[in-house]
């Protein structure tokens, strides 16, 4: 019992953020409360992309958090990213998912798989927020079963020609750079390759915009790829490695959505707390229903527990240790919690919950159990790990 942090207790586990991360958290919260929260309801009612706020977020460096320092990033890592995303999403999940996709899907992949030339070409635009990134994997016939994709990439000598629409593309109508997964061969897995496609490439078009339950300030669109001819050097990684590249985003993406869900859950918790504090008896003593107080207590406990679960996975990932099942645990539990918390907020706030921020949380929360690997996919990942398949 010799290793101690403070000289008194024989332990190593610590659950405190460093002063630096605590300050970063406060900065993110301040930005979220100042630049996102006041406008989030209007953005969502008008289905308006928060362009200015994203630009301001870029100025604060929030769009470069997963980018290596040598390409203009801050490389703060996964834990910092989780902390940031919880704060942004507590105020505006539409802005939150935009930033999460940009960082954890687009910039991460470019950092991990891009050539030097590709990094030099695209990172300046990405870290400044001049271009936002989008991730084009899903198609009408391939959701959870991503390997069923059919979008074709044809080798035409000096160019690749991509053909076939992509569906459910977050930020699709606002992005400058698309990571596109397309089929270069018949093999279900090894026949998939990844490409960098620019918004202005001829043949790239914005198709149908989804009309959604929530997250309406984050455009989800179809990306039309009609014989899009791109230079050979737009291939990301090697031919046939697309599925591996897609898998490489899983952990980061899941931690991002886990943190988004935590932000939503916390916002719902805070709505309930603030509402219950207004309920006092004739003598000014707290007078909330037990049922509502118990619900609040249960939520408070689970928010803490699942935040720890999320941060643990982030710390493992920051340490380059395997964290697949642990990231799935975080995604699974946080997304369910966000929905439970939002539903509870609507119930407890009553009629004012039907017309105020609670109902927006309920609508926004619902997607967290679906995207970045639906709930049952997370369970599958965890069960495989536990069973040692």
């Amino acid at each position: 019992m010799t290793e101690t942090l403070d000289g008194t207790t024989p332990q190593f586990v610590d659950f405190q953020l460093s002063d630096t991360l605590t300050a970063f958290q406060a900065e993110c919260r301040d930005f979220a409360e100042r630049e996102l929260a006041p406008h989030a309801a209007a953005w969502e009612r008008n289905h308006e992309f928060p362009t200015d706020a994203i630009r301001k977020a870029a100025e604060l460096g929030y769009l470069r958090i997963t980018t290596p320092v040598e390409y203009g990033g801050t490389a703060l890592g996964n834990l910092a990213s989780c902390i940031m995303l919880e704060e942004l999403n507590a105020a505006c999940p539409s802005a939150g998912v935009t930033i999460s996709v940009h960082n954890s899907l687009c910039c991460s992949l470019l950092a991990n798989w891009g050539s030097e030339a590709q990094k030099q070409a695209y990172f300046p635009k990405l870290v400044s927020g001049e271009w936002l990134g989008a991730y084009c994997l899903s198609e009408a016939g391939s959701g959870s079963d991503a390997a069923a994709l059919v979008c074709a990439a044809r080798d035409d000598g000096d160019a690749w020609v991509l053909d076939g629409p992509k569906l459910w593309i977050t930020t699709g109508s606002e992005a400058g750079l698309f990571l596109v997964f397309a089929r270069t061969g018949e093999d279900r897995i090894k026949g998939i390759s990844a490409f960098l496609v620019e918004r202005n490439d001829p043949g790239v078009g914005i198709g149908k915009k989804e009309r959604k339950l929530g997250l309406t300030a984050s455009p989800t669109v179809e990306i039309l790829l009609e014989n899009v001819r791109i230079p050979k050097d737009r291939l990301l990684g090697e031919v046939g490695r697309g599925f591996n590249i897609a898998l490489d985003t899983l952990d980061g993406g899941r931690l991002g959505i886990a943190s988004q869900a935590l932000g939503i859950a916390r916002a719902a918790h805070d709505l309930i707390r603030d509402h219950l504090r207004t309920l006092v008896d004739a003598k000014g003593r707290p007078n909330a229903h037990q049922a509502a107080q118990w619900e609040l207590a249960d939520l408070a406990a689970d928010i803490d527990a699942y935040r720890l679960l999320t941060w643990r996975a982030a710390v493992l990932r920051d340490s380059k240790l395997p964290c697949g099942a642990k990231a799935s645990m975080a995604k699974l539990k946080c997304s369910q919690l966000a929905n439970r918390a939002a539903r509870a907020a609507v119930s407890i706030l009553g009629e004012s919950g039907l017309v105020g921020p609670a109902e927006k949380l309920l609508r926004d929360a619902r997607i967290t159990e679906i995207y970045e690997g639906a709930t049952d996919i997370q369970r599958l990942v965890i069960a495989r790990e536990v069973l040692g398949d």
Binding site: D145, R211, A291, L354, R366, D376
Partner: protein, 360 residues
């Protein structure tokens, strides 16, 4: 299978509503909801069928088919369009049952049963108060999320007075009514906030008559809500079943995944439980028994079932479920909204808890 419990008359009502749903409600449900347009065509079509009086005794101008008819009709409407269903349940259930037998309300009853006017009902849970002067009332208070109020020609208001509750008719033009432009559910049912500021009302019942009328309204409200929600739950399950039977993933229909099947089964089980409770509550009420407890239990069961079934149906739809075209997100919003209305589920549980000894 539940046709076993339906008489010929009730089967006819079911057929009538099904046809009306197919012709009028279904084709417009998505669009009306998305654009928050009032479902006037559906309301008018329902008025034409005469169904607003189905649950009302013949001596009160109705068809005398009891609350069972309300359950049958609401279940069908609940499957298709919560907004239409809620308006129907308020008109044919809550309002008509409140007015039944009130000597001074025959003209109001006629307008309600004929569908000449759309009724908004303000229950005691809104805390509206009245001061009486003979048959005239001065009404004060604010009621939020009153469905139909944005288009109503008549507000029926249960208001508190120093001598207990009364039931009043208030002209909407005497109130400040503001539609909820951004509410969660029932977007096509013109939900609105109603502010009464010394609003002139006409007393339809007071004393024991008012208490009985409000109690009748409450039971009809709960049974109607239960049937609407049960219908919604069945619809969510059926939408999920159809989608997953067709959607192929990992080489086979999604429906073949045990986890998918079990989600739908759980939805179905809860929906069926809710339906049976709603029927039983209606049977007991129609036989003159005290159905308040059963109606409350039916409502709780059904609303939970509807929220759960819609939630799981969204889940088995994957990303599609998050979009409006697949209908389940609408069921989710409407079901959750229904949970909050009429006092909310917590209050229902409080009432049941106080009566536990008589129910167990």
């Amino acid at each position: 299978m539940h046709n076993l419990t339906l008489s010929d008359e009730l089967s006819m009502i079911q057929d009538t509503v099904r046809k009306l749903v197919q012709d009028v409600v279904d084709p417009a449900a998505l669009e009306h909801d998305e654009h928050r347009q009032f479902v006037r065509p559906a309301f008018e079509a329902l008025a034409e069928t005469g169904l607003f009086g189905a649950a009302i005794a013949e001596e009160d101008g109705g068809a005398g088919l009891g609350l069972l008819s309300l359950v049958v009709a609401c279940e069908e409407l609940g499957r298709a369009c919560g907004s239409t269903g809620r308006l129907f349940a308020t008109q044919a259930g809550t309002a008509a049952r409140a007015l039944a037998g009130l000597a001074d309300a025959a003209d109001v009853m006629e307008a309600v049963l004929m569908g000449e006017t759309i009724v908004g009902f303000v229950g005691l849970e809104h805390g509206v108060a009245a001061v009486l002067d003979g048959a005239a009332a001065s009404v004060d208070g604010t009621a939020r999320f009153v469905t139909g109020a944005g288009e109503a020609g008549l507000l029926l208001v249960a208001a508190a007075t120093a001598d207990g509750p009364v039931l009043c008719a208030v002209d909407p033009s005497a109130c400040a009514i503001e539609g909820h432009a951004h509410g969660l559910g029932y977007r096509a049912a013109a939900p609105a906030q109603v502010v009464f500021a010394h609003a002139a009302g006409r007393v339809l019942a007071s004393g024991a008559d008012a208490e009985a009328a409000i109690a009748r309204a409450g039971i009809a409200t709960d049974i109607g809500a239960a049937a609407l929600a049960a219908g919604s739950a069945f619809a969510s399950v059926e939408l999920g079943r159809r989608h997953t039977a067709e959607r192929i993933a990992f080489g086979k229909p999604l429906a073949k995944q045990q986890a998918v099947g079990h989600k739908l089964v759980e939805g179905l089980r809860r929906a069926e439980a809710a339906r049976q409770l709603a029927y039983q509550a209606a049977r007991v009420a129609d036989a003159g028994g005290d159905a308040a407890g059963l109606a409350a239990m039916a409502r709780l069961t059904a609303v939970d079932a509807a929220v759960h079934a819609a939630d799981e149906s969204i889940q088995v739809h994957g990303g599609f479920g998050y979009t409006v075209e697949y209908h389940v997100e609408r069921h989710y919003r409407d079901a959750k909204t229904l949970e909050v209305l009429d006092g909310g589920a917590c209050a229902v549980r409080d009432v049941l808890a106080a009566r536990l000894g008589a129910l167990a």
